[in-house]
């Protein structure tokens, strides 16, 4: 079981980027890059030489590694489908959320380490928006903990089966919508951030990594895709609680579900424009309120 989990966690992420890219290409009437392009990009970056700014320090070089490890550890805490996560204990969701906090600390500090104004902008926006997504995530956690009476992600996310119960479903639906917005924001997707523009003024995540190159950039791209998978798996396990009881088939179903969700993200990115920067807090506050209403409905 652990091996299947590790294989999915390590091998699947770049494919999600490929699926999103392909979906957007179909919408735009293009052929688009091959599905496996992200793997090639990362492999190429890992082999390339590094250019490091003279202004930077060890924090700039340590940040990609810390981010990757933090996201990987978070990936061990979340269940992929119905089978339990490799690491499950009471209170694991707190560690889960704070690992992303650690990666954010280092990513934003590394961006400021270059002394570039653009990267400063990106890092300020990242830090600002996280102040709304983190409470939203914890609202999801207390809602699910109240629903299931458990403090471990593996059990909390099983409450998805209540989605088919007409009485218990409404709060969970609200929570799932809120979680989807958190997913888009945390992974720097449209409508919060645009992962495709490569000029500086509009962006959050891409602006922070302008000065990273070679293997460091490869690590960042890889951990960004892994973060997408990890947060997707929270939503997928909760909102699409389908399983057969056989572990291998369940894993296949899970992989298919994450790909479907990646397509959904691609659809959102194709039909929407990025929000103006000052509108983003409204969207995130909306997510906060959705999750909060879900919790209130459960408590009521």
């Amino acid at each position: 079981m652990l091996i299947i989990h590790l294989v999915i966690l390590l091998a699947l992420p770049p494919l999600l980027l490929g699926v999103i890219g392909k979906t957007k290409a179909v919408f735009a009437g293009r052929r688009g890059p091959p599905l496996l392009q992200a793997y090639r990009d990362i492999a190429k970056l890992l082999r390339k030489a590094l250019v490091i700014s003279e202004t930077t320090s060890w924090i700039f070089q340590a940040a990609p590694a810390v981010t990757l490890v933090a996201v990987f550890l978070a990936g061990l805490l979340v269940p992929f489908g119905p089978s339990p996560a490799p690491l499950a204990f009471s209170g694991d969701m707190i560690l889960f959320a704070y690992l992303f906090g650690l990666s954010r600390f280092f990513t934003t500090a590394a961006a400021l380490d270059t002394g570039s104004a653009f990267e400063g902008m990106g890092s300020a926006r990242e830090a600002t928006f996280a102040c709304l997504t983190e409470p939203a995530l914890f609202l999801v956690f207390i809602a699910l903990a109240k629903e299931t009476g458990s403090l471990s992600l593996t059990k909390m996310l099983r409450s998805g089966s209540l989605l088919f119960d007409a009485a218990a479903a409404p709060p969970l639906v609200l929570v799932c919508i809120g979680l989807f917005i958190v997913l888009l924001s945390e992974n720097s997707r449209i409508p919060v951030d645009d992962p495709c523009t490569h000029l500086e003024l509009t962006m959050i995540h891409e602006a922070m990594i302008l000065d990273h190159s070679g293997p460091l950039l490869g690590l960042i791209e890889y951990s960004a895709s892994m973060k997408l998978l990890v947060l997707e798996s929270v939503l997928v396990t909760l909102a699409l609680p389908f399983g057969s009881g056989v572990a291998a088939i369940d894993s296949c179903i899970f992989v298919a579900e994450t790909l479907v969700l990646a397509m959904a993200i691609g659809v959102v990115e194709s039909v929407m424009a990025r929000l103006r920067m000052r509108r983003v807090p409204y969207l995130l506050t909306g997510a906060l309120l959705l999750c909060g209403s879900g919790f209130i409905l459960i408590v009521r």
């Binding site: 030489a49 570039s116 995530l137």
Partner: protein, 679 residues
């Protein structure tokens, strides 16, 4: 045995300022006096630390009688809760004293060095005394020794107007607090019949309410609870950095100790009080960090973070009170354990951060972070320690701040399994704590990066040079302690169990051990795995060898150049994002509370004139409540001044009038006729 060690520690630390007092102010003699004083203090604190650490695990609480005939017997006592706070005092104080050897060398500061040494020792002695006091007057003796020594330390560099004002505000604030404490102990005497501080099983409602409110106010002033924090930023910024470290890391905790101790002595409080303390904690936490974000001054920023951390500590305490009201021993153990551990943790990382800020201040001469930048190159060790402290104070794994926040979270989540809507609603504190955490990350990324990363923004930042060994050593010890609690949280579990058990006293509810309730082992292993894996990956990248020359191009595996800056070829330090711009979005989000000064008018024309943008966030309580009130009071007092002319004749007249009034009051109620009738 442990009690005598602690008693000796108190006496010795109180005397540690004496050698310098009798030596010359300048030159070698002063240096020798400072070394001797520090030596005495360190020996005292080591003895006290050993005593306190062993008392943590002594089962029964011991009491000792200090003969003090005029007030009855002054009781002293030692239980694990007192020992828990003593450990913090005796750990941070010697480090802070060693730090001062490099930071404030006696020979170079002839005017201030004597009083700093003297009052530093007295501050340590006062704090230790109040922690072991079991009698209201002994407690107040320790309390006032602490409060007044702290005043002289805060105002020690009194040649600056700013420092004198900060000292005055502190003095007024602390005495308002003490006044409330006098009232509180008077009520205590009325309700229990003695000044002795021992647990009571029942108390009449009105007295109970009064005692809780007065102790929340009186101790809250000292702890820096949100509406009562107004003295804190100024005082911490004005004090010399090693003193700021002790004030923020330890002295604020004495206020918390007072609240915890009094609430532990009282009978089980109704749910309302738990909710109140929890709400106070949330307000302190969120507004504290919001104010911190708006600061440009490194030490003021750290001071506001103390307000935030006191908020987190109170959130733990409030949850523990709720757990006690509900009769849930698991919530009490987790939340109170988290509260107490955060008290230790905040003492460790906040002292570390103030030491770091002190080194920066000493090297560059400025506390304004928008003038700094790039100091990691000239002060690598200070920068590394400060960064570690920053990660720890944000409550991020794998360091100690995460452990205590995790325990508090688990306590809060415990309310979910309690029946009732109110109980479930108290768990809304969890998202609030998450928001505090995210804001703290933003604030410390801002502070660390603006100070140490990037490049210099002003000439001041070019003056950075590494601190001396006597300043780096205390930072190293504190950093190691932060890491140790983070990587091996099981080490502190038994200390927490003992202290929580002693707080809960006879209300127990057999408490389950914290190690069985919280996944401390998992967290420790995860932290070790995280750090080692990240280190391995970084090493692998750094030690990479080229495989195919063609792919690497001509310039080798790793080369350096200027920051790309989207193609702009000549970036300068002044073009960097400043700390103020970094925080602007969040400050805007909290503008309803912070009320930042308005932004200047827009630029006009094709060739606009230069415009300077200065933003300042005034402390809401001090600037908008206390300040105006004090002005009104001052205006009223000026009216009263006309009675004081300095003329002897006038004063004789006052005496005469007073005599007449007094004589008139002697006339019985029936008037003169009644007097005659009595004859």
């Amino acid at each position: 045995m442990s009690f005598y060690l602690i008693a000796w520690a108190i006496v010795l630390s109180a005397a540690s300022g004496l050698p310098l007092l009798f030596l010359k102010r300048r030159g070698r003699a002063a240096r020798a006096g400072q070394l001797a004083g520090t030596g005495i203090l360190v020996i005292a604190c080591v003895a006290g630390f050993v005593g306190a650490a062993s008392a943590l695990f002594e089962p029964a609480s011991v009491s000792y009688i200090l003969p003090w005939p005029s007030v009855g017997d002054g009781l002293l006592g030692l239980d694990p809760l007192s020992a828990f706070f003593l450990v913090l005092i005796f750990f941070v104080a010697p480090l802070s004293s060693v730090y001062s050897l490099g930071y404030a060398q006696a020979g170079r500061n002839p005017r201030t060095s004597r009083r700093m040494q003297l009052f530093f020792g007295l501050l340590v002695a006062g704090m230790s005394l109040l922690v072991i006091a079991r009698h209201a007057l002994v407690f107040l003796l320790g309390w006032e020794t602490m409060a007044l020594s702290a005043y002289f330390l805060i105002a020690s560099e009194d040649e600056k107007l700013e420092n004198r004002r900060a000292g005055f505000v502190y003095l007024v604030a602390t005495h308002c607090g003490t006044l409330a404490l006098f009232g509180m102990f008077a009520l205590w005497r009325m309700a229990t019949g003695s000044f002795e501080l021992s647990p009571v099983s029942s108390m009449e409602g009105g007295a109970l309410c009064g005692i809780v409110l007065l102790s929340l106010f009186g101790f809250g002033v000292k702890a820096g609870l949100m509406p009562l924090h107004f003295w804190l930023p100024g005082a911490h910024a004005a004090a010399p950095s090693h003193v700021s470290a002790l004030l923020s890391g330890v002295m604020l905790k004495m206020g918390v100790y007072g609240i915890i101790r009094m609430l532990g002595l009282l009978p089980v409080l109704p749910v309302f009080w738990g909710v109140l303390v929890l709400a106070l904690g949330i307000v302190s936490g969120i507004l504290g960090v919001a104010y911190a974000l708006a600061q440009h001054d490194l030490k003021r920023l750290l001071a506001y973070h103390s307000v935030e951390n006191i908020g987190i500590i109170l959130m733990g305490l409030g949850t523990a009170l709720l757990g006690r009201a509900w009769g849930r021993s698991d919530i009490v153990a987790l939340a109170m354990g988290g509260c107490l551990l955060h008290i230790w943790n905040h003492g460790l990382f906040k002292s570390l951060l103030f030491f770091g800020a002190g080194s920066v201040l000493r090297a560059t001469g400025t506390r304004q972070i928008d003038k700094l930048g790039g100091l990691i190159k000239s002060m690598p060790w200070t920068a590394a320690f400060f960064a570690l402290g920053a990660v720890a104070i944000c409550g991020l794994p794998p360091l100690n701040g995460f452990i205590s926040e995790l325990l508090i979270y688990l306590g809060i989540f415990g309310g979910l399994s309690q029946s009732g809507t109110l109980a479930a609603l108290t768990s809304l504190a969890a998202p609030c704590l998450a928001m505090i955490g995210a804001l703290a990350v933003a604030c410390f990324v801002k502070a660390t990066s603006a100070t140490f990363l990037g490049s210099a923004r002003a000439p001041e930042a070019g003056r950075g040079r590494e601190a001396s060994a006597s300043m780096l050593l205390p930072m190293g010890v504190l950093a190691a302690a932060c890491a140790a609690i983070g990587f091996a949280p099981g080490l502190v579990a038994s200390a927490l169990d003992a202290a929580v058990g002693s707080w809960n006293g006879k209300h127990a509810l057999a408490l389950p051990g914290i190690a069985t309730l919280a996944p401390l082992n998992y967290i420790g292993y995860a932290g070790i795995a995280l750090v080692s894996a990240a280190a391995l990956i970084s090493l692998a990248i750094a030690l990479r060898r080229p495989r195919r020359r063609r792919e690497l191009g001509q310039s080798g595996i790793c080369r350096s150049g200027p920051t790309w800056d989207c193609g702009y070829a000549a970036p300068t330090g002044r073009m960097q994002y400043t700390a103020s711009s970094f925080a602007r979005g969040l400050v805007g989000m909290f503008s309803w509370a912070l009320k930042p000064s308005p932004e200047p008018t827009k630029l006009h024309g094709a060739y606009p004139a230069p415009v300077v943008l200065e933003t300042e966030v005034v402390d809401g309580v001090l600037g908008r409540v206390i300040g105006p009130c004090a002005r009104v009071l001052g205006a009223l007092s000026r009216r009263a001044r006309r009675f004081q002319q300095g003329l002897t004749q006038q004063y004789v007249l006052y005496i005469l009038l007073a005599l007449v009034v007094l004589l008139l009051t002697l006339i019985p109620a029936g008037g003169l006729s009644g007097l005659a009738a009595a004859k």
